[in-house]
Symmetry: C2
Subunit: 257 residues, 2 copies
């Protein structure tokens, strides 16, 4: 069992303490290659997983054969997975080297009920936050909106980790996986990215590395930004007459579930 990576000040990223650091002694670390199944190692009970490096995708395969990515798990993210439960999501590595810390829940009793329960809440809460962000992205009407919101969310995440506004962002997965995450076709993803480039909202350094040029526009593009001259809410618009048309209505919820 490998000792935990110590927190080295000035270390590049992700080495802030994660929510599970108090039970790191219970964890084992494993490395996976692209496409490998992460959760099918013969674990006896449910476990928690934390991505150390690389990316994991949690997906279902529809009857059409199309893969739908329900959850994209980036370094620092944690998720829970049952052992052999029917209907569980498939989890596989989306990058060639994906290393994962595995916390078997069976060992969890050792740390006491209070800690175990609050860690459970922590894990569930983190998943809920990711899901909510995903819904926010999937709910956008246009491909431009989805892609822009996706990149903007990546930038926001990066900013939250580093503590300063992110300009350079690395797209963590291939266009194919972006398509499966955004529920678009690969071609549309590619076209939309070049469209965003031509609109000067982003700039490409490499196909996987971009600079955020206009984050504000990125988060709201593709949603008919002009001319809400007088839009009629059907009902339930108990807006006190002069309510501003929600100019600052973006930014996703964080602590509510």
């Amino acid at each position: 069992m490998r000792p935990t990576v110590p927190v080295i000040p000035g270390n590049t990223a992700i080495e802030k303490v994660h929510p599970l650091h108090v039970i790191d002694e219970l964890a084992t670390t494993k490395r996976f290659h692209l496409g490998e199944d992460i959760c099918s190692g013969g674990y006896v009970g449910p476990s928690w997983f934390r991505i150390i490096s690389g990316v994991a995708k949690r997906c279902v395969t529809l009857s059409s054969g199309r893969q739908q990515i329900v959850d994209l798990v980036l370094p620092g993210d944690i998720f829970a997975h049952p052992a052999n439960e029917r209907g569980a999501l498939g989890v596989e590595a989306a990058t060639d080297v994906t290393s994962v810390a595995i916390y078997p829940c069976s060992r969890l009793r050792r740390v006491g009920d209070v800690l175990a329960a609050s860690l459970s809440a922590e894990v569930a809460c983190a998943s809920a936050r990711r899901y909510q962000a995903h819904i926010h992205i999937l709910g956008r009407a246009t491909a431009l909106g989805k892609t822009g919101a996706f990149i903007s969310a990546l930038a926001e995440r990066s900013a939250r980790e580093s503590g300063q506004p992110a300009v350079q962002v690395t797209l963590p997965v291939s266009r194919y996986d972006m398509a499966d995450y955004l529920s678009l076709s690969v071609e549309t993803v590619s076209r939309t990215l070049t469209e965003l480039k031509q609109r000067r909202l982003i700039a490409f350094l490499t196909p996987r590395t971009i600079n955020i040029v206009d984050n504000e526009a990125l988060a709201t593009c593709g949603d008919a930004q002009f001319g809400p001259s007088e839009w009629q809410g059907h009902h339930s618009s108990l807006s006190p007459v002069g309510a501003s048309p929600a100019k600052t209505a973006r930014r996703m919820a964080s602590a509510s579930l």
Copy 2:
């Protein structure tokens, strides 16, 4: 403060014990009308909410003015909401009489740390399950698929509550709200429902009440169900040659986060 509704055997629905029943003494009950804001009563701290009857929608308003429903909260469902936090979702009643049990988190200390923590986990977990189901629906490619999956999820929920397969299902919200939940236009929702009717997957009793005719087809329609004669996974298809094309790949994950 109204005493909790006792569990009457044979009562129509929703009266199975809910996860928060152990702290029902801490709760107060409120009633709301269609369009009313549920979470803006001057609560001092964060609270948990449980829908007793009616429907609540938790939404953001995009810059276009379009409302996006992030979470649809049905009777028995619980969710957490911060008091005055920036970026929290708006929560409003989607039916004319929506009664809600409100559990202020400030009173939560009384019941002990262990219980408080495990209830937190419970609340977060319930939210995560709803979100995951929503992503599963939003991720479908076509309007038919989204709508079918939505109705199928309603039926599955109803079946889980009553313990027997559901045939009659009540659409809990208007077409407008369905549209905002599914990220479609109202017209498309309406057209898609009549399409499902003509395909004999559902039958209408009233515009809001339907019979499920073919639940199997309902859950998978709109996803190019035929002719996956030989679909090429781009990579990461380390499928052991004869892997079946996921004929039984639907049904959503339950206990994993």
